[in-house]
């Protein structure tokens, strides 16, 4: 059977080649048009990063005079048991939440790609979680998971599924599961929308040809759909990794990082160090570590992927 990856549109590459023939005046106009955005990024990204870097090497507390402390803040947070806990929790959460989000989104995208009654309403309704701020999502799920009067416990109890209420938010592992569920619920709409666009972009004649060859649904998905949507899948996965790695609002609203440190990720730890312990220097050093870790994670993942995974669209 013909692999879908063989057929490719070369237009983007050709467009790129054409761009090299732009006259200097046109190029200058382009640069001028892009400059405001570049400046905005510089002001709102580079400046805060530089300030955080500066603060990370100073004692910055409301109670003591500020002074340069070198790398003491970094040594302090990395040596803290909370840091090890936060790293472990962050990695665990990312490892569970990202695959769960991507798989769920892909399944929903495939479902929405089919024709059935109510499809349009389902697509519109699916976007609802995306429209809610993450903090509201956290509060909504908190009401769902509350031990004594949460909707899930009450519902399961009334249905006779459980004979005693489950301590969702006060047991470390269950609390982590609750955060994962809330995250997946909040992130699935965007991921589904992106994947749905990719799935809809698969040429129907390929499916028709594969059916004529006797390919089953799983075969069509494996050999046609998956290769074609792979670039989008990679982008969605990378985006979700970043989102999971920097999740804060949901844990803040749902569990406050607890019970204990069971759902305290690096971002929550950063916030707590800054605004609870009022040690802004340590908080800044943690923020720097989170930012650098995110970059490292992305670079490592990009290098670990097949080289053509992201380049499919550019062929």
């Amino acid at each position: 059977m013909q692999r879908a990856t063989v057929a490719r549109d070369r237009l983007p590459v050709e467009a790129g080649r054409r761009s090299q023939r732009y006259r200097p005046g046109v190029r200058g106009t382009g640069i001028l048009m892009v400059l405001p955005v570049v400046l905005l990024v510089a002001v709102f990204t580079l400046y805060p990063f530089g300030q955080a870097l500066y603060d990370s090497m100073r004692l910055t507390s409301p109670f003591f005079p500020a002074r340069f402390v070198g790398l003491d803040n970094f040594r302090g947070v990395i040596g803290s048991t909370y840091f090890a806990d936060a790293v472990r929790v962050t990695l665990t959460f990312t490892a569970i939440a990202v695959p769960a989000t991507v798989v769920t989104s892909l399944l929903i995208a495939l479902l929405l790609n089919e024709r059935f009654v109510g499809n349009t309403a389902l697509r519109a309704g699916m976007l609802l979680p995306w429209a809610l701020p993450a903090s509201i999502t956290g509060i909504v799920w908190k009401w769902m998971f509350l031990d004594s009067w949460g909707a899930i416990n009450v519902g399961l109890y009334e249905l006779g599924v459980i004979d005693k209420y489950i301590t969702w938010l006060t047991s470390p592992r269950l609390a982590m599961m609750a955060v994962v569920i809330a995250f997946v619920w909040a992130q699935t709409p965007l991921a589904t929308a992106l994947l749905l666009v990719a799935v809809q972009g698969v040429p129907q004649d390929l499916y028709a040809a594969a059916s004529l060859d006797g390919a089953a649904a799983t075969g069509r998905f494996r050999d046609i759909t998956l290769p074609i949507i792979r670039p989008t899948l990679v982008i969605v996965a990378l985006y979700q990794i970043l989102m999971a790695f920097t999740t804060f609002d949901i844990t803040y609203a749902l569990t406050h990082g607890g019970p204990g440190t069971a759902t305290t990720m690096l971002t929550y730890f950063t916030w707590a160090e800054s605004f609870k312990m009022l040690d802004f220097g340590r908080g800044a050093s943690l923020a720097i570590l989170v930012a650098l870790s995110s970059i490292v994670v992305i670079v490592v993942l990009l290098r670990a992927m097949p080289k053509d995974a992201l380049l499919e669209e550019a062929r």
Binding site: D147, S148, K164, P172, M277
Partner: protein, 442 residues
């Protein structure tokens, strides 16, 4: 552009004129009453509780003092400490704040709040009119910093009906009895008889824990600010272990992360015991909020001495206000007097909180007020409450306590959730205490 607080406009001039006329017929409060011709802006910073009532009280104050305009800023209770620290540190305009004993030393040491008695002759006159524990909570270095917004106790509450149904005749007297009765209730099908309000970001937790330690006759720190919980036989260490064992060994305890959830949880009838700010009993026994209204009672705090933590939350004048000059200081003084002080032998605002919300009060006069007693008797056994009130005491504080409480709560939750051992949690809490003590030069 924000108007200068003392700038006179036609509107403020007219308001001042009206104020001058009305001032002639209204009681003057304190020796430094602001002239109504002056226009003063006051920034009042509070945590979110009864905000509509606060706004209404402000409105009444402004009607009485048309020359004073009060701007209100309110933030959640959970984040009040850090938001207030940042507000005061960044010199965001703030003249009067809510404060508590656990933060007073920190704020005073940082120079953000000033003693009332340094600015108002009337301040010390309230000493004999305020409960001793409340006065102590508002005092630092022998100077009083505030007048009570409210003063209350953290008490032990139980569902009398559930105990009766289980054949338990009387509430527990000791923490061992709490365990015994909880196990008996558990044997009859109640999964978690003890409900604990526990979250690392909730200031309430530290105070509730202290109150239970007081029940055993203990303290957290000695007179030299040395931690006492490092001794495993200390009341503090024993109580810390009790909570962890109740969850992880006896499995009689569950927890919720805030008081609102706790009121809801208690109202389900799935829990029999809770340690709370006393005024929450008014909510539990409010038929509009709870299907089990009337079933909840107060018992003396379990333990050898039955003492409990008595505290004051109070109106505090900031250094920023003091630096703005005598007009602002005087206006703030009037404001604090109106909100917490005596007016013609009455304490109208404190009384309003007590009658409408069940908040405790710091002034002894309200204790015998018939309206207050009538209102209280609807939701609490007044005699039992009086007995507990007489056993209430303030706790020792330090300038670093506000920050340490954040750390302690985290270790407390970890121990109760079974994420760390009691010994490790207590040691970590002691290490952090000693580190902060060293940083603060304590």
């Amino acid at each position: 552009m924000k108007p200068h607080p003392l700038r006179m406009t036609r509107r403020t001039f007219a308001a001042g004129g009206l104020g001058a006329m009305s001032a002639a017929f209204l009681p003057r409060i304190g020796p430094h009453a602001v002239s109504a011709q002056e226009s003063v802006d006051l920034n009042f910073h509070i945590w979110q509780y009864g905000v509509e009532t606060v706004q209404d009280n402000i409105k009444r104050f402004e009607e009485l003092y048309p020359g004073v305009k009060v701007s209100l800023s309110d933030v959640p209770w959970n984040s009040y400490h850090e938001e207030t620290v940042n507000r005061l540190r960044s010199k965001t305009a703030t003249d009067v704040i809510y404060n508590g004993g656990d933060w007073l030393e920190e704020f005073a040491t940082a120079g953000w709040v000033v003693p009332l008695e340094d600015h108002f002759d009337w301040a010390k006159g309230y000493q004999d009119k305020v409960f001793a524990f409340a006065w102590q909570d508002m005092t630092f270095n022998d100077k009083v910093y505030g007048l009570p917004y409210y003063a209350d106790t953290i008490t032990f509450m139980y569902n009398e009906q559930l105990l009766k149904d289980a054949g338990i005749a009387a509430p527990p007297q000791t923490w061992e009895e709490v365990t015994e009765q909880s196990l008996a209730l558990k044997a009859k099908g109640m999964e978690f008889p003890f409900l604990y309000v526990l979250a690392q970001d909730l200031p309430t937790v530290s105070e509730a824990f202290v109150s239970t330690v007081f029940g055993r006759g203990g303290e957290l720190i000695d007179e030299n600010n040395e931690p006492l919980w490092t001794d495993p036989n200390s009341p503090a260490a024993k109580q810390f272990k009790w909570f962890a064992d109740a969850r992880n060994v006896d499995k009689i305890l569950t927890f919720v992360s805030n008081e609102t959830d706790a009121v809801g949880a208690m109202s389900t009838g799935q829990h029999a015991f809770v340690v709370f700010y006393n005024y929450h009993l008014a909510e539990l026994n409010d038929a509009a909020r709870s299907d089990r209204a009337g079933q909840f009672k107060i018992a003396l705090m379990p333990g050898e001495t039955h003492e409990c933590y008595g505290f004051a939350k109070f109106y505090n004048l900031t250094k920023m206000a003091a630096d703005r000059g005598p007009e602002v200081v005087n206006a703030a003084g009037q404001f604090i007097q109106y909100f917490a002080g005596e007016i013609d032998g009455q304490y109208p605002i404190a009384k309003r909180w007590a009658v409408e919300n069940g908040l405790g009060f710091g002034t002894k006069a309200l204790f015998d007020d018939p309206d207050v007693r009538t209102a209280y008797s609807k939701w609490i056994d007044v005699d039992k409450w009086t007995e507990q009130l007489n056993l209430a005491r303030a706790q020792r504080h330090t300038p670093w306590q506000g920050i340490w409480n954040e750390f302690f709560r985290l270790e407390h939750v970890k121990a109760v959730a079974g994420e760390t051992s009691v010994e490790d949690a207590l040691q970590a809490a002691a290490d952090n205490w000693n580190e902060l003590k060293k940083q603060f030069g304590g």
